[in-house]
C-alpha cells in the first residue's frame, strides 16, 4: 500500500483467528489504520491478497459489509444528529440489530443521548462510534483506536465489552498504541512499524512465555569493570545482561531459583552487596523497545 513514493504498509502478512481478539500495535504512522481500512474494503492493496471471512473486501464488498462492524478513527456522524438518533439510524440499516437501549446503557451513552454529535466529548464520540460498530451484530468488528480519548473508567468498560463479545464468538481486530490495552485484551498481538510486521504472538509469547522475566539488580557500591560479562558467563547462554547504570544491572532470562542463586553467588564473588533484587515479567514495552529501538509512547 503506497501513497506517492511513501510506502505505508509493505509486505504485511497476518492472519486472525475467529472468536479471538487481535491487536495491531504500533506507533503513530506505522500503518495500523491503513491495514484496517484495507480489510474494510476502503483501500485497494497495490499487491497481495486480503480475505475477510473468505471474501475479497473490494470485489465482494456488498456481501461482506453486513457481516462486519467498523469503528472509524473519529467522526462519521452528522454534526447536528443526536447521539441516540445516530445509533438508532445505524441499527435500522441492519436486520437483527442489538437492543440500542441496552447498548447505550452498557456504554454510558444515555447521559448524552439527546446531545448533538458536535457537542459530544471526544470520549463520548468514541463510545458512540464503538456502539455503531457493534449494533449490527457483526461476525468481525474492526475497531480503530477504540479507547483513544476515553477516561480510565470508560476504557475498562470497553475492555469488558470486547471480552464479552469474544466470549460470544465475535472476532475482534483492534489497533492501539496503548501497550496495556494489547497486553490486557489481546489473544494475539501483531507489532508493526514503518508498515512492516516486526513481531507476532500472544502477549505471553512476545514477552518470552511464562518463565521469561527480568531481574533488576541494584547494589550498594559501583560494580567492578566487566561485571555484565562475568555475570553473563555465570548465568549461561539463556540470559542477557545489560548494565543500566554503575550500580544496577538488568538480567533478561528465566527468573527461576537457579538463576537467583547464581546471581547471589556472583555478588558474593564480586564482593558487592545487593541493595535490591526486583523480579518482573518482561513487558510488551520492553519488547517494543528492543525491536524498534524507540519508545511507543512519548
Amino acid at each position: 500500500m503506497s501513497y506517492g513514493d511513501k510506502t505505508a504498509v509493505d509486505g504485511l502478512s497476518l492472519a486472525v483467528d475467529r472468536g479471538s481478539i487481535t491487536a495491531v500495535l504500533g506507533p503513530n504512522g506505522a500503518g495500523k489504520t491503513t491495514t484496517l481500512e484495507t480489510c474494510e474494503g476502503y483501500r485497494r492493496p497495490h499487491s497481495g491478497r486480503v480475505r475477510v471471512l473468505g471474501l475479497d473486501p473490494i470485489a465482494d464488498r456488498r456481501r461482506l459489509l453486513p457481516r462486519i462492524g467498523v469503528m472509524l478513527q473519529g467522526q462519521g456522524a452528522w454534526s447536528g444528529v443526536r447521539a441516540m438518533e445516530m445509533l438508532r439510524h445505524i441499527a435500522r440499516l441492519h436486520a437483527h440489530p442489538l437492543d440500542v437501549d441496552m447498548l447505550s446503557d452498557r456504554l454510558g451513552l444515555d447521559e448524552c443521548g439527546r446531545t448533538p454529535y458536535r457537542r459530544l466529548s471526544g470520549g463520548q464520540q468514541q463510545r458512540l462510534g464503538l456502539a455503531m460498530a457493534l449494533v449490527g451484530r457483526p461476525e468481525i468488528v474492526f475497531v480503530d483506536e477504540p479507547t483513544a480519548g476515553m477516561d480510565p473508567a470508560a476504557r475498562r468498560t470497553t475492555w469488558e465489552l470486547l471480552r464479552e463479545m469474544r466470549a460470544d464468538g465475535v472476532t475482534v481486530v483492534l489497533t492501539t498504541h496503548y501497550l496495556e490495552e494489547a497486553e490486557q485484551l489481546a489473544d494475539r498481538v501483531h507489532i508493526i512499524d514503518h508498515g512492516r510486521l516486526i513481531a507476532s504472538g500472544s502477549p505471553l509469547e512476545l514477552t518470552r512465555g511464562g518463565t521469561a522475566a527480568t531481574i533488576r539488580l541494584v547494589v550498594t557500591r559501583p560494580f567492578p569493570p566487566g561485571a555484565p560479562d562475568s555475570l553473563r558467563i555465570a548465568l549461561g547462554d539463556a540470559t542477557e545482561v545489560t548494565q543500566l547504570d554503575e550500580r544496577s544491572l538488568l538480567v533478561i532470562g528465566p527468573a527461576d531459583s537457579t538463576t537467583l542463586a547464581r546471581v547471589s553467588h556472583w555478588c558474593e564473588e564480586q564482593g558487592v552487596l545487593p541493595e535490591s533484587l526486583t523480579l518482573g515479567r518482561r513487558s510488551l514495552e520492553d519488547v517494543f523497545l528492543e525491536l524498534t529501538g524507540r519508545e511507543l509512547q512519548p
Binding site: G76, G136, E139
Partner: protein
C-alpha cells in the same frame, strides 16, 4: 450458546434502509436553521414581498390577462423552492457529509451507494412536500387560484429535482465543503435574481431567450405553465431533462463519495 453479542449479521430489507435514510436526512434538513431558512422562510418572504410590492406598484403583466399577481408568483416561488432544496441544500449537506466522514461511515454499513442516493432523493421529495404545503398555503391566503395542472407540475418537480440534484452533487463532488457552501449559495442567488425562476423569462427582455435555457428558467416556466394555463410545458421539460442527463453524466464521471 447465545449471548448478547452472538453474531447475527445482515442488512435490513433495502426499502427499509432507504426509508430510514430518507427520514433521517429529511429530519436533519428541516431541523437545521440555515436549511430551513433556504427551504421555507426565503421563498415565503419572496412570495409575500413580490405580491405585495407588485400590488403597490400597480403591476399587471400582460401574461396574466388581468389575473392577480399571486397567480404568477406562487408557481415561480414553488419552482424556487424546488431549486433551493434539490440544488443548494443537497449540495451543502452532501459537502459536509463528505467532510464529516458520514458517507465513509455509511459506506461501511449495509446501505449500498444506490440506496444512499435513493434515500437522498426521497428526502428531497419529503422536504419539497413540506414546501408545497407551506408556500401553497401562503399563496392561497394571498388569493392564489391555480389552474388544475397536476400532471405538468408533477413532471416539473421530477425533472427539476433530477436536474438540480445532479448539478448539486456535481458541485459537492468537486469542491471542498466550505467552497461548496459558498458556491451553492451564490449560484442560488444568481439564479434567483437572473435565472427566470420567480419572474417569467419575458420579464428579462433580450436576456429572457437565454434564461429560458437555464434549468432555473425552464423549471420556472414549466411550473407557471402548469398552474397558469393548466398545460404541460413540453419544451421546458425537455430542457430540464437535458440538464438532468448532462448533470448526471458529469457527476458520474467526477463524483466520489468520500
Amino acid at each position: 450458546m447465545t449471548g448478547t453479542f452472538t453474531p447475527m449479521p445482515g442488512g435490513a430489507a433495502l426499502h427499509r434502509q432507504v426509508l430510514a435514510q430518507a427520514s433521517m436526512e429529511a429530519r436533519l434538513m428541516l431541523r437545521n436553521g440555515e436549511q430551513l431558512l433556504l427551504a421555507v422562510v426565503i421563498p415565503v418572504i419572496v412570495l409575500v414581498g413580490a405580491v405585495k410590492g407588485g400590488q403597490h406598484l400597480d403591476l399587471s403583466p400582460s401574461v396574466l390577462d388581468g389575473r392577480p399577481l399571486v397567480d404568477l408568483f406562487t408557481p415561480g416561488v414553488l419552482a424556487l423552492a424546488i431549486m433551493s432544496t434539490s440544488f443548494t441544500s443537497l449540495a451543502i449537506a452532501t459537502g459536509f457529509e463528505r467532510r464529516y466522514g458520514v458517507i465513509k461511515r455509511l459506506g461501511a454499513s449495509p446501505l449500498p451507494r444506490l440506496g444512499l442516493l435513493a434515500g437522498k432523493v426521497l428526502a428531497l421529495v419529503l422536504v419539497e412536500l413540506v414546501q408545497l404545503f407551506v408556500i401553497g398555503g401562503v399563496g392561497q391566503l394571498l388569493g392564489w387560484t391555480p389552474e388544475p395542472g397536476a400532471v405538468g407540475f408533477l413532471l416539473a418537480v421530477v425533472l427539476g429535482t433530477a436536474a438540480f440534484a445532479a448539478l448539486g452533487l456535481l458541485v459537492a463532488g468537486t469542491l471542498r465543503a466550505e467552497a461548496t457552501l459558498a458556491a451553492a449559495n451564490l449560484i442560488y442567488l444568481l439564479l434567483l435574481a437572473g435565472g427566470a425562476v420567480v419572474l417569467p423569462a419575458s420579464a428579462y427582455g433580450g436576456f429572457g431567450s437565454f434564461a429560458e435555457w437555464l434549468p432555473s428558467g425552464a423549471l420556472g416556466e414549466a411550473v407557471r405553465t402548469a398552474f397558469l394555463d393548466g398545460a404541460v410545458a413540453w419544451r421546458d421539460l425537455g430542457v430540464l431533462l437535458g440538464w438532468a442527463v448532462l448533470g448526471s453524466a458529469l457527476t458520474a464521471r467526477t463524483f466520489t463519495w468520500e
